[in-house]
Protein backbone atom coordinates (compact mmCIF):
# COMPACT_ATOMS: atom_id res chain seq x y z
CA UNK A 1 0.00 0.00 0.00
CA UNK A 2 1.25 3.46 -0.88
CA UNK A 3 2.05 5.71 2.09
CA UNK A 4 -0.58 8.39 2.56
CA UNK A 5 0.68 11.69 1.21
CA UNK A 6 -0.29 14.90 3.00
CA UNK A 7 -3.22 16.55 1.28
CA UNK A 8 -2.66 20.24 0.73
CA UNK A 9 -5.16 22.70 -0.59
CA UNK A 10 -2.40 24.93 -1.77
CA UNK A 11 1.36 25.34 -1.68
CA UNK A 12 3.10 28.68 -1.84
CA UNK A 13 6.41 28.94 -3.64
CA UNK A 14 8.47 32.08 -3.17
CA UNK A 15 10.01 32.17 -6.61
CA UNK A 16 12.52 34.86 -5.83
CA UNK A 17 13.44 37.21 -3.01
CA UNK A 18 14.17 40.04 -5.44
CA UNK A 19 11.61 42.81 -5.79
CA UNK A 20 11.27 46.02 -7.76
CA UNK A 21 9.02 47.66 -5.15
CA UNK A 22 9.73 48.52 -1.53
CA UNK A 23 6.28 48.29 0.02
CA UNK A 24 6.07 49.89 3.44
CA UNK A 25 3.88 47.03 4.65
CA UNK A 26 6.00 44.21 3.12
CA UNK A 27 5.88 41.06 5.25
CA UNK A 28 8.57 39.12 3.37
CA UNK A 29 10.53 37.40 6.10
CA UNK A 30 13.91 38.15 4.54
CA UNK A 31 13.13 41.90 4.73
CA UNK A 32 13.06 41.85 8.50
CA UNK A 33 16.72 42.60 9.00
CA UNK A 34 17.36 39.20 10.54
CA UNK A 35 19.39 36.23 9.48
CA UNK A 36 16.95 34.59 7.10
CA UNK A 37 18.80 32.61 4.38
CA UNK A 38 19.14 34.48 1.10
CA UNK A 39 19.51 33.17 -2.43
CA UNK A 40 17.79 30.95 -4.94
CA UNK A 41 18.37 27.67 -6.74
CA UNK A 42 19.14 27.40 -10.43
CA UNK A 43 16.41 26.25 -12.80
CA UNK A 44 17.04 22.47 -12.74
CA UNK A 45 17.26 22.41 -8.94
CA UNK A 46 14.15 24.55 -8.66
CA UNK A 47 12.20 22.15 -10.86
CA UNK A 48 13.51 19.23 -8.82
CA UNK A 49 12.34 20.98 -5.68
CA UNK A 50 8.84 21.52 -7.04
CA UNK A 51 8.71 17.95 -8.35
CA UNK A 52 9.61 16.63 -4.92
CA UNK A 53 6.98 18.80 -3.24
CA UNK A 54 4.29 17.64 -5.67
CA UNK A 55 5.38 14.00 -5.55
CA UNK A 56 5.30 13.93 -1.78
CA UNK A 57 1.93 15.63 -1.33
CA UNK A 58 -1.51 15.69 -2.87
CA UNK A 59 -1.55 19.27 -4.02
CA UNK A 60 -3.31 20.61 -7.06
CA UNK A 61 -2.75 24.33 -6.62
CA UNK A 62 0.47 26.30 -6.38
CA UNK A 63 0.75 30.02 -5.72
CA UNK A 64 3.87 31.69 -7.07
CA UNK A 65 4.92 34.74 -5.12
CA UNK A 66 8.07 36.58 -4.16
CA UNK A 67 9.51 39.15 -4.03
CA UNK A 68 8.25 39.83 -7.50
CA UNK A 69 7.93 36.54 -9.41
CA UNK A 70 8.24 38.19 -12.82
CA UNK A 71 11.78 39.26 -12.00
CA UNK A 72 12.85 35.65 -12.32
CA UNK A 73 13.90 35.01 -15.89
CA UNK A 74 13.08 31.29 -15.82
CA UNK A 75 9.50 31.88 -14.66
CA UNK A 76 8.13 30.60 -18.01
CA UNK A 77 10.05 27.35 -17.53
CA UNK A 78 8.70 26.96 -14.00
CA UNK A 79 5.16 27.55 -15.26
CA UNK A 80 5.61 25.04 -18.08
CA UNK A 81 6.71 22.48 -15.52
CA UNK A 82 3.65 23.14 -13.36
CA UNK A 83 1.46 23.00 -16.45
CA UNK A 84 2.86 19.58 -17.27
CA UNK A 85 2.05 18.50 -13.74
CA UNK A 86 -1.52 19.76 -14.23
CA UNK A 87 -1.33 22.03 -11.25
CA UNK A 88 -3.49 25.15 -11.05
CA UNK A 89 -1.39 28.26 -10.65
CA UNK A 90 -1.99 31.64 -9.06
CA UNK A 91 0.59 34.39 -9.45
CA UNK A 92 0.94 37.11 -6.84
CA UNK A 93 2.61 40.09 -8.46
CA UNK A 94 2.81 43.85 -8.03
CA UNK A 95 1.84 44.16 -11.71
CA UNK A 96 4.80 46.28 -12.68
CA UNK A 97 6.01 43.85 -15.36
CA UNK A 98 2.63 42.53 -16.48
CA UNK A 99 2.70 44.03 -19.94
CA UNK A 100 0.39 42.69 -22.62
CA UNK A 101 2.96 40.19 -23.98
CA UNK A 102 3.92 39.10 -20.47
CA UNK A 103 0.28 38.47 -19.57
CA UNK A 104 -0.21 36.48 -22.78
CA UNK A 105 2.85 34.40 -21.99
CA UNK A 106 1.67 33.62 -18.46
CA UNK A 107 -1.87 32.80 -19.54
CA UNK A 108 -0.55 30.45 -22.23
CA UNK A 109 1.39 28.70 -19.52
CA UNK A 110 -1.68 28.10 -17.42
CA UNK A 111 -1.82 30.90 -14.88
CA UNK A 112 -5.42 30.81 -13.70
CA UNK A 113 -5.48 33.78 -11.39
CA UNK A 114 -3.50 36.95 -10.82
CA UNK A 115 -3.49 38.50 -7.37
CA UNK A 116 -2.58 42.15 -7.75
CA UNK A 117 -2.43 44.94 -5.16
CA UNK A 118 -4.79 47.87 -5.35
CA UNK A 119 -3.99 49.97 -2.32
CA UNK A 120 -5.89 53.10 -3.16
CA UNK A 121 -7.95 54.90 -5.76
CA UNK A 122 -5.29 57.59 -5.57
CA UNK A 123 -1.97 57.32 -7.35
CA UNK A 124 -0.04 59.09 -4.62
CA UNK A 125 -1.25 56.82 -1.82
CA UNK A 126 -0.72 53.58 -3.75
CA UNK A 127 2.73 54.67 -4.89
CA UNK A 128 3.76 55.75 -1.39
CA UNK A 129 2.66 52.44 0.15
CA UNK A 130 4.40 50.55 -2.69
CA UNK A 131 7.57 52.57 -2.23
CA UNK A 132 7.67 52.89 -6.00
CA UNK A 133 6.60 55.79 -8.22
CA UNK A 134 4.47 54.57 -11.10
CA UNK A 135 3.17 51.53 -9.24
CA UNK A 136 -0.49 52.60 -9.44
CA UNK A 137 -0.41 53.20 -13.18
CA UNK A 138 1.37 49.92 -13.70
CA UNK A 139 -1.07 47.84 -11.69
CA UNK A 140 -4.13 49.34 -13.38
CA UNK A 141 -2.55 48.68 -16.78
CA UNK A 142 -1.83 45.11 -15.65
CA UNK A 143 -5.44 44.60 -14.58
CA UNK A 144 -6.70 45.87 -17.92
CA UNK A 145 -4.21 43.69 -19.82
CA UNK A 146 -5.23 40.57 -17.93
CA UNK A 147 -8.92 41.19 -18.47
CA UNK A 148 -8.48 41.96 -22.14
CA UNK A 149 -6.94 38.52 -22.55
CA UNK A 150 -9.67 36.87 -20.52
CA UNK A 151 -7.54 36.20 -17.49
CA UNK A 152 -8.75 36.73 -13.96
CA UNK A 153 -7.68 39.17 -11.31
CA UNK A 154 -8.28 39.39 -7.60
CA UNK A 155 -7.28 42.70 -6.06
CA UNK A 156 -5.51 42.77 -2.70
CA UNK A 157 -6.18 45.79 -0.52
CA UNK A 158 -3.77 45.98 2.40
CA UNK A 159 -5.59 48.11 4.94
CA UNK A 160 -3.29 50.55 6.71
CA UNK A 161 -3.82 53.86 8.45
CA UNK A 162 -2.81 55.56 5.21
CA UNK A 163 -5.53 54.09 3.00
CA UNK A 164 -8.25 52.45 5.05
CA UNK A 165 -10.58 55.41 5.21
CA UNK A 166 -10.99 55.53 1.43
CA UNK A 167 -11.73 51.85 0.95
CA UNK A 168 -15.03 52.55 -0.78
CA UNK A 169 -13.49 54.45 -3.68
CA UNK A 170 -10.81 51.79 -4.06
CA UNK A 171 -13.41 49.02 -4.23
CA UNK A 172 -15.21 50.96 -6.92
CA UNK A 173 -12.02 51.31 -8.94
CA UNK A 174 -11.36 47.58 -8.62
CA UNK A 175 -14.92 46.88 -9.74
CA UNK A 176 -14.57 49.14 -12.77
CA UNK A 177 -11.48 47.21 -13.81
CA UNK A 178 -13.38 43.95 -13.66
CA UNK A 179 -11.67 42.20 -10.77
CA UNK A 180 -13.37 38.99 -9.68
CA UNK A 181 -12.99 39.72 -6.00
CA UNK A 182 -11.14 41.78 -3.44
CA UNK A 183 -9.04 40.60 -0.55
CA UNK A 184 -9.37 43.03 2.33
CA UNK A 185 -6.21 42.28 4.25
CA UNK A 186 -5.74 44.39 7.30
CA UNK A 187 -2.04 45.21 7.69
CA UNK A 188 -0.31 42.26 9.31
CA UNK A 189 3.08 43.41 10.63
CA UNK A 190 6.13 41.42 9.66
CA UNK A 191 9.25 41.83 7.54
CA UNK A 192 9.89 45.44 6.62
CA UNK A 193 6.40 46.36 7.81
CA UNK A 194 7.31 45.57 11.40
CA UNK A 195 9.43 48.71 11.51
CA UNK A 196 6.37 50.81 10.66
CA UNK A 197 3.92 49.12 12.96
CA UNK A 198 2.61 52.23 14.70
CA UNK A 199 2.54 54.23 11.49
CA UNK A 200 0.56 51.66 9.52
CA UNK A 201 -1.48 49.44 11.85
CA UNK A 202 -5.11 50.54 11.68
CA UNK A 203 -7.16 50.84 14.83
CA UNK A 204 -10.01 48.51 15.63
CA UNK A 205 -12.48 51.34 15.00
CA UNK A 206 -10.96 52.01 11.59
CA UNK A 207 -11.20 48.36 10.62
CA UNK A 208 -14.79 48.17 11.87
CA UNK A 209 -15.76 51.19 9.79
CA UNK A 210 -13.99 49.73 6.76
CA UNK A 211 -15.82 46.43 7.14
CA UNK A 212 -19.12 48.29 7.11
CA UNK A 213 -18.12 49.93 3.85
CA UNK A 214 -16.93 46.60 2.42
CA UNK A 215 -20.17 44.86 3.42
CA UNK A 216 -22.32 47.54 1.81
CA UNK A 217 -20.31 47.69 -1.40
CA UNK A 218 -19.96 43.96 -1.70
CA UNK A 219 -23.75 43.76 -1.85
CA UNK A 220 -24.15 46.80 -4.07
CA UNK A 221 -21.51 45.78 -6.62
CA UNK A 222 -21.99 42.03 -6.20
CA UNK A 223 -18.27 41.91 -5.58
CA UNK A 224 -16.90 39.10 -3.37
CA UNK A 225 -14.74 40.47 -0.56
CA UNK A 226 -12.73 38.22 1.70
CA UNK A 227 -10.93 39.19 4.88
CA UNK A 228 -8.20 36.63 5.09
CA UNK A 229 -5.92 38.14 7.70
CA UNK A 230 -7.59 37.21 11.00
CA UNK A 231 -9.85 39.75 12.64
CA UNK A 232 -10.49 38.66 16.21
CA UNK A 233 -14.22 38.34 17.00
CA UNK A 234 -13.57 39.68 20.49
CA UNK A 235 -12.49 42.96 18.91
CA UNK A 236 -15.05 43.15 16.11
CA UNK A 237 -18.29 41.21 15.81
CA UNK A 238 -17.71 39.72 12.37
CA UNK A 239 -21.22 38.24 12.26
CA UNK A 240 -22.38 41.76 11.41
CA UNK A 241 -20.89 41.38 7.94
CA UNK A 242 -22.61 38.35 6.41
CA UNK A 243 -21.48 39.07 2.85
CA UNK A 244 -17.80 39.15 3.69
CA UNK A 245 -15.67 36.03 4.02
CA UNK A 246 -13.50 35.77 7.12
CA UNK A 247 -10.51 33.50 7.49
CA UNK A 248 -8.40 32.40 10.43
CA UNK A 249 -5.02 30.77 10.71
CA UNK A 250 -5.04 27.47 8.81
CA UNK A 251 -1.58 26.26 9.86
CA UNK A 252 -1.47 22.53 10.37
CA UNK A 253 -4.80 21.87 8.64
CA UNK A 254 -5.48 20.82 5.05
CA UNK A 255 -6.09 24.46 4.26
CA UNK A 256 -2.60 25.38 5.41
CA UNK A 257 -0.51 27.20 2.89
CA UNK A 258 2.91 25.78 3.55
CA UNK A 259 5.50 28.01 2.03
CA UNK A 260 8.64 26.99 0.19
CA UNK A 261 11.35 29.61 -0.15
CA UNK A 262 13.65 29.80 -3.23
CA UNK A 263 16.22 27.59 -1.48
CA UNK A 264 13.81 24.81 -0.54
CA UNK A 265 13.24 25.80 3.08
CA UNK A 266 9.71 25.00 4.19
CA UNK A 267 7.69 27.16 6.59
CA UNK A 268 4.21 26.82 8.08
CA UNK A 269 3.05 29.91 6.17
CA UNK A 270 4.50 32.90 4.37
CA UNK A 271 4.28 35.22 7.38
CA UNK A 272 6.50 33.22 9.70
CA UNK A 273 10.29 33.08 9.50
CA UNK A 274 10.45 29.80 11.44
CA UNK A 275 11.91 27.20 9.08
CA UNK A 276 10.61 23.66 9.50
CA UNK A 277 13.51 22.26 7.48
CA UNK A 278 14.75 21.92 3.93
CA UNK A 279 12.78 19.79 1.50
CA UNK A 280 15.94 18.52 -0.15
CA UNK A 281 17.05 17.05 3.14
CA UNK A 282 13.80 15.54 4.43
CA UNK A 283 10.43 14.38 3.20
CA UNK A 284 7.45 16.71 3.20
CA UNK A 285 5.66 14.39 5.60
CA UNK A 286 8.52 14.59 8.09
CA UNK A 287 8.79 18.34 7.80
CA UNK A 288 5.15 18.89 8.69
CA UNK A 289 4.93 16.11 11.28
CA UNK A 290 2.76 17.08 14.27
CA UNK A 291 5.74 17.15 16.62
CA UNK A 292 7.30 19.88 14.48
CA UNK A 293 4.12 21.78 13.82
CA UNK A 294 2.79 21.61 17.36
CA UNK A 295 4.76 24.65 18.51
CA UNK A 296 2.89 26.55 15.85
CA UNK A 297 -0.51 24.92 15.97
CA UNK A 298 -0.84 24.78 19.75
CA UNK A 299 0.36 28.30 20.47
CA UNK A 300 -2.29 30.63 21.81
CA UNK A 301 -2.00 33.88 23.78
CA UNK A 302 -2.78 33.67 27.50
CA UNK A 303 -5.53 36.25 27.00
CA UNK A 304 -7.40 33.76 24.77
CA UNK A 305 -7.15 30.75 27.09
CA UNK A 306 -10.77 30.92 28.30
CA UNK A 307 -12.35 32.13 25.08
CA UNK A 308 -15.00 29.89 23.48
CA UNK A 309 -13.70 30.77 20.03
CA UNK A 310 -10.02 30.14 20.75
CA UNK A 311 -9.80 27.07 18.52
CA UNK A 312 -11.25 28.95 15.59
CA UNK A 313 -9.62 32.35 16.03
CA UNK A 314 -6.41 31.18 17.72
CA UNK A 315 -5.73 34.73 18.82
CA UNK A 316 -5.11 35.92 15.26
CA UNK A 317 -1.84 35.69 13.36
CA UNK A 318 0.73 33.86 15.46
CA UNK A 319 3.41 34.46 12.87
CA UNK A 320 3.01 38.19 13.30
CA UNK A 321 3.23 37.81 17.08
CA UNK A 322 6.42 35.81 16.73
CA UNK A 323 8.02 38.12 14.17
CA UNK A 324 7.11 41.28 16.10
CA UNK A 325 7.44 40.17 19.70
CA UNK A 326 9.58 37.04 19.54
CA UNK A 327 7.02 34.43 20.58
CA UNK A 328 4.13 32.59 18.96
CA UNK A 329 2.17 32.87 22.19
CA UNK A 330 2.35 36.64 22.46
CA UNK A 331 -0.71 38.69 21.52
CA UNK A 332 -0.23 39.73 17.93
CA UNK A 333 -0.07 43.50 17.26
CA UNK A 334 -3.69 44.04 16.16
CA UNK A 335 -4.98 42.18 19.20
CA UNK A 336 -2.53 43.84 21.56
CA UNK A 337 -3.42 47.33 20.32
CA UNK A 338 -7.12 46.55 20.42
CA UNK A 339 -6.95 45.32 24.00
CA UNK A 340 -4.83 48.28 25.04
CA UNK A 341 -7.39 50.64 23.57
CA UNK A 342 -10.22 48.80 25.33
CA UNK A 343 -8.34 49.11 28.63
CA UNK A 344 -7.93 52.84 28.08
CA UNK A 345 -11.63 53.25 27.36
CA UNK A 346 -12.56 51.22 30.42
CA UNK A 347 -10.18 53.28 32.53
Amino acid sequence: MTAVRPRLQSLIFEVTQACNHTCLHCYNVWQGGGLYPLGQLDTPRTLNLLAKALDETTCSHVTLTGGEPLLRSDLPRILEFLQQRRVRVTVISNGRLLTEPAVASLLERGVGLFELPLLSHQRQVHDELSGAPGAWDAVLAAMANVRLQHGQVVAAFVATRKNIERLGETLKLAFAFGVRGVMFNRFNPGGRGRQRLSELLPTVDQVRDALEVAEKMSVELKLPVSCSIPIQPCLIDISQYPHLGFGFCAAGSERAYYTLDPLGNLRACNHTDLILGNLFEESFTNLIAPERMSAFTCAIPAFCADCDRRLECQGGCKASAQVCYGSLTEEEPFLRNGLLRADQING
Partner: protein
Protein backbone atom coordinates in the same frame (compact mmCIF):
# COMPACT_ATOMS: atom_id res chain seq x y z
CA UNK B 1 -0.55 13.40 -24.53
CA UNK B 2 1.74 12.90 -21.58
CA UNK B 3 -0.71 11.83 -18.91
CA UNK B 4 0.59 9.86 -15.97
CA UNK B 5 -1.47 7.01 -14.60
CA UNK B 6 -1.96 8.98 -11.41
CA UNK B 7 -3.30 11.99 -13.32
CA UNK B 8 -5.48 9.70 -15.38
CA UNK B 9 -7.02 8.24 -12.23
CA UNK B 10 -7.61 11.72 -10.80
CA UNK B 11 -9.46 12.67 -13.97
CA UNK B 12 -11.54 9.50 -13.74
CA UNK B 13 -12.45 10.30 -10.14
CA UNK B 14 -13.30 13.94 -10.78
CA UNK B 15 -15.34 12.99 -13.85
CA UNK B 16 -17.38 10.48 -11.89
CA UNK B 17 -17.96 13.00 -9.10
CA UNK B 18 -19.03 15.64 -11.61
CA UNK B 19 -21.43 13.25 -13.31
CA UNK B 20 -22.92 12.22 -10.00
CA UNK B 21 -23.38 15.82 -8.88
CA UNK B 22 -25.11 16.81 -12.11
CA UNK B 23 -27.63 14.08 -11.34
CA UNK B 24 -26.36 11.85 -14.10
CA UNK B 25 -28.25 8.67 -13.32
CA UNK B 26 -26.32 5.86 -11.75
CA UNK B 27 -28.24 2.61 -11.54
CA UNK B 28 -28.97 2.03 -7.89
CA UNK B 29 -30.47 -1.43 -8.28
CA UNK B 30 -33.71 -0.78 -6.45
CA UNK B 31 -37.31 -1.56 -7.33
CA UNK B 32 -40.46 0.41 -6.72
CA UNK B 33 -40.93 -1.64 -3.58
CA UNK B 34 -37.48 -0.88 -2.35
CA UNK B 35 -37.11 2.86 -2.79
CA UNK B 36 -33.88 4.69 -2.30
CA UNK B 37 -32.69 4.56 1.25
CA UNK B 38 -32.69 8.01 2.82
CA UNK B 39 -29.04 7.94 3.74
CA UNK B 40 -25.99 5.74 3.35
CA UNK B 41 -27.14 2.46 4.74
CA UNK B 42 -25.28 -0.27 6.56
CA UNK B 43 -23.95 -2.78 4.10
CA UNK B 44 -22.03 -5.93 4.44
CA UNK B 45 -19.82 -6.41 1.44
CA UNK B 46 -16.78 -4.31 0.73
CA UNK B 47 -18.07 -3.67 -2.79
CA UNK B 48 -21.34 -2.28 -1.42
CA UNK B 49 -19.49 -0.03 0.94
CA UNK B 50 -17.28 1.22 -1.88
CA UNK B 51 -20.36 1.89 -3.95
CA UNK B 52 -21.92 3.85 -1.11
CA UNK B 53 -18.78 5.97 -0.90
CA UNK B 54 -19.01 6.80 -4.61
CA UNK B 55 -22.69 7.71 -4.26
CA UNK B 56 -22.11 10.09 -1.34
CA UNK B 57 -20.87 13.13 -3.24
CA UNK B 58 -24.20 14.92 -3.02
CA UNK B 59 -24.11 14.53 0.74
CA UNK B 60 -20.49 15.69 0.84
CA UNK B 61 -21.40 18.80 -1.17
CA UNK B 62 -24.35 19.54 1.13
CA UNK B 63 -22.32 19.13 4.32
CA UNK B 64 -19.46 21.20 2.95
CA UNK B 65 -21.85 24.04 2.08
CA UNK B 66 -23.41 23.86 5.55
CA UNK B 67 -19.98 24.00 7.16
CA UNK B 68 -19.03 26.93 4.96
CA UNK B 69 -22.12 28.83 6.11
CA UNK B 70 -20.96 28.30 9.68
CA UNK B 71 -17.52 29.62 8.81
CA UNK B 72 -15.74 26.27 8.78
CA UNK B 73 -13.96 24.59 5.95
CA UNK B 74 -12.93 21.41 7.70
CA UNK B 75 -13.54 18.32 5.62
CA UNK B 76 -14.51 15.84 8.31
CA UNK B 77 -17.05 13.95 6.22
CA UNK B 78 -14.67 13.80 3.26
CA UNK B 79 -12.00 12.33 5.53
CA UNK B 80 -14.49 9.73 6.80
CA UNK B 81 -15.47 8.77 3.27
CA UNK B 82 -11.84 8.51 2.22
CA UNK B 83 -11.01 6.27 5.17
CA UNK B 84 -14.09 4.07 4.58
CA UNK B 85 -13.17 3.74 0.94
CA UNK B 86 -9.61 2.76 1.74
CA UNK B 87 -10.73 0.21 4.32
CA UNK B 88 -13.13 -1.42 1.86
CA UNK B 89 -10.43 -1.56 -0.81
CA UNK B 90 -8.03 -3.17 1.64
CA UNK B 91 -10.60 -5.92 2.20
CA UNK B 92 -10.79 -6.57 -1.52
CA UNK B 93 -7.00 -6.71 -1.71
CA UNK B 94 -6.89 -9.12 1.23
CA UNK B 95 -9.46 -11.37 -0.43
CA UNK B 96 -7.55 -11.33 -3.72
CA UNK B 97 -10.26 -9.54 -5.71
CA UNK B 98 -7.96 -6.61 -6.45
CA UNK B 99 -4.22 -6.21 -6.63
CA UNK B 100 -2.66 -3.68 -4.28
CA UNK B 101 -1.50 -1.49 -7.16
CA UNK B 102 -4.97 -1.34 -8.74
CA UNK B 103 -6.50 -0.58 -5.35
CA UNK B 104 -4.07 2.29 -4.84
CA UNK B 105 -5.11 3.77 -8.16
CA UNK B 106 -8.80 3.43 -7.36
CA UNK B 107 -8.10 5.20 -4.08
CA UNK B 108 -6.22 7.91 -5.97
CA UNK B 109 -9.29 8.49 -8.12
CA UNK B 110 -11.55 8.62 -5.08
CA UNK B 111 -9.27 11.04 -3.21
CA UNK B 112 -9.32 13.37 -6.21
CA UNK B 113 -13.11 13.13 -6.46
CA UNK B 114 -13.61 13.93 -2.76
CA UNK B 115 -11.20 16.83 -2.96
CA UNK B 116 -12.92 18.15 -6.08
CA UNK B 117 -16.37 18.09 -4.45
CA UNK B 118 -15.11 19.61 -1.21
CA UNK B 119 -13.08 22.30 -2.96
CA UNK B 120 -16.03 23.25 -5.16
CA UNK B 121 -18.25 23.84 -2.15
CA UNK B 122 -15.85 25.14 0.47
CA UNK B 123 -14.89 28.58 1.73
CA UNK B 124 -12.40 30.75 -0.05
CA UNK B 125 -9.15 31.32 1.74
CA UNK B 126 -6.29 33.74 1.75
CA UNK B 127 -4.28 32.34 -1.10
CA UNK B 128 -7.05 30.67 -2.99
CA UNK B 129 -9.51 33.50 -2.91
CA UNK B 130 -11.82 32.22 -5.59
CA UNK B 131 -11.27 29.66 -8.27
CA UNK B 132 -13.79 30.49 -10.94
CA UNK B 133 -13.57 29.63 -14.59
CA UNK B 134 -13.58 32.50 -17.00
CA UNK B 135 -17.01 33.56 -18.12
CA UNK B 136 -18.37 37.03 -18.52
CA UNK B 137 -20.21 38.16 -15.42
CA UNK B 138 -23.86 39.09 -15.78
CA UNK B 139 -24.82 41.69 -18.36
CA UNK B 140 -26.14 43.99 -15.63
CA UNK B 141 -22.82 43.95 -13.83
CA UNK B 142 -21.01 44.73 -17.05
CA UNK B 143 -23.23 47.74 -17.61
CA UNK B 144 -22.52 48.93 -14.06
CA UNK B 145 -18.79 48.35 -14.58
CA UNK B 146 -18.97 50.42 -17.72
CA UNK B 147 -20.67 53.27 -15.87
CA UNK B 148 -18.07 53.07 -13.07
CA UNK B 149 -15.28 53.15 -15.63
CA UNK B 150 -16.81 56.23 -17.29
CA UNK B 151 -16.99 57.91 -13.90
CA UNK B 152 -13.33 57.14 -13.22
CA UNK B 153 -12.34 58.28 -16.69
CA UNK B 154 -14.09 61.60 -16.10
CA UNK B 155 -11.89 62.20 -13.06
CA UNK B 156 -8.92 62.22 -15.41
CA UNK B 157 -6.46 60.39 -13.17
CA UNK B 158 -6.09 57.10 -15.00
CA UNK B 159 -3.77 56.84 -17.99
CA UNK B 160 -5.83 57.09 -21.23
CA UNK B 161 -4.13 54.06 -22.78
CA UNK B 162 -5.04 51.95 -19.75
CA UNK B 163 -8.63 53.18 -19.91
CA UNK B 164 -8.75 52.24 -23.58
CA UNK B 165 -7.59 48.71 -22.78
CA UNK B 166 -10.07 48.42 -19.91
CA UNK B 167 -12.89 49.58 -22.19
CA UNK B 168 -11.86 47.16 -24.93
CA UNK B 169 -11.94 44.31 -22.41
CA UNK B 170 -15.40 45.34 -21.22
CA UNK B 171 -16.64 45.58 -24.79
CA UNK B 172 -15.45 42.03 -25.47
CA UNK B 173 -17.57 40.80 -22.60
CA UNK B 174 -20.55 42.94 -23.54
CA UNK B 175 -20.34 41.73 -27.13
CA UNK B 176 -20.46 38.16 -25.93
CA UNK B 177 -23.68 38.91 -24.04
CA UNK B 178 -25.23 40.58 -27.05
CA UNK B 179 -24.94 37.36 -29.04
CA UNK B 180 -27.82 34.95 -29.43
CA UNK B 181 -27.36 31.26 -28.60
CA UNK B 182 -27.15 30.54 -32.30
CA UNK B 183 -24.45 33.16 -32.78
CA UNK B 184 -22.46 31.74 -29.87
CA UNK B 185 -22.77 28.29 -31.37
CA UNK B 186 -21.68 29.59 -34.77
CA UNK B 187 -18.73 31.33 -33.15
CA UNK B 188 -17.55 28.10 -31.52
CA UNK B 189 -17.98 26.23 -34.81
CA UNK B 190 -16.01 28.90 -36.62
CA UNK B 191 -13.18 28.72 -34.10
CA UNK B 192 -13.01 24.93 -34.44
CA UNK B 193 -13.11 25.15 -38.24
CA UNK B 194 -10.39 27.79 -38.35
CA UNK B 195 -8.26 25.76 -35.99
CA UNK B 196 -8.67 22.66 -38.11
CA UNK B 197 -7.91 24.66 -41.25
CA UNK B 198 -4.60 25.64 -39.68
CA UNK B 199 -3.69 22.00 -39.39
CA UNK B 200 -5.19 21.30 -36.01
CA UNK B 201 -7.34 18.22 -35.76
CA UNK B 202 -9.48 16.83 -33.02
CA UNK B 203 -8.17 13.33 -32.33
CA UNK B 204 -10.48 10.55 -31.39
CA UNK B 205 -10.02 8.94 -27.99
CA UNK B 206 -8.30 5.95 -29.56
CA UNK B 207 -5.81 8.23 -31.27
CA UNK B 208 -4.79 9.94 -28.08
CA UNK B 209 -1.38 8.88 -26.95
CA UNK B 210 -2.42 8.34 -23.38
CA UNK B 211 0.12 6.69 -21.15
CA UNK B 212 -2.34 4.49 -19.34
CA UNK B 213 -0.92 1.37 -17.83
CA UNK B 214 -2.85 -1.89 -17.60
CA UNK B 215 -3.23 -1.22 -13.86
CA UNK B 216 -4.81 2.17 -14.54
CA UNK B 217 -7.16 0.64 -17.11
CA UNK B 218 -8.10 -2.05 -14.63
CA UNK B 219 -8.72 0.55 -11.93
CA UNK B 220 -10.91 2.67 -14.21
CA UNK B 221 -12.81 -0.41 -15.32
CA UNK B 222 -13.28 -1.43 -11.68
CA UNK B 223 -14.86 1.95 -10.86
CA UNK B 224 -17.19 1.72 -13.85
CA UNK B 225 -18.20 -1.82 -12.94
CA UNK B 226 -18.75 -0.83 -9.34
CA UNK B 227 -21.03 2.05 -10.25
CA UNK B 228 -22.97 0.24 -12.95
CA UNK B 229 -23.46 -2.76 -10.72
CA UNK B 230 -21.84 -5.16 -13.15
Amino acid sequence: MNLSRRDFMKLVGVSVASLALTRCSLPIGVTCYAPLPPSPYPTDSARDRLRTCWLSFGELARRTQESAQQGSSEDTYGAELTADHRAALDELVASGELTASVADLVQEAYNAAVYHVWRSNSLMTCYEPMMVDYAPVSANILVEQSAALDEIAAQGAVDPATLETARAALEHDLAFYAMTDEEVSNLYNRIVTEWQAQGGTTPSFDELDLEITPDAQAAAQFIISLLTGQ
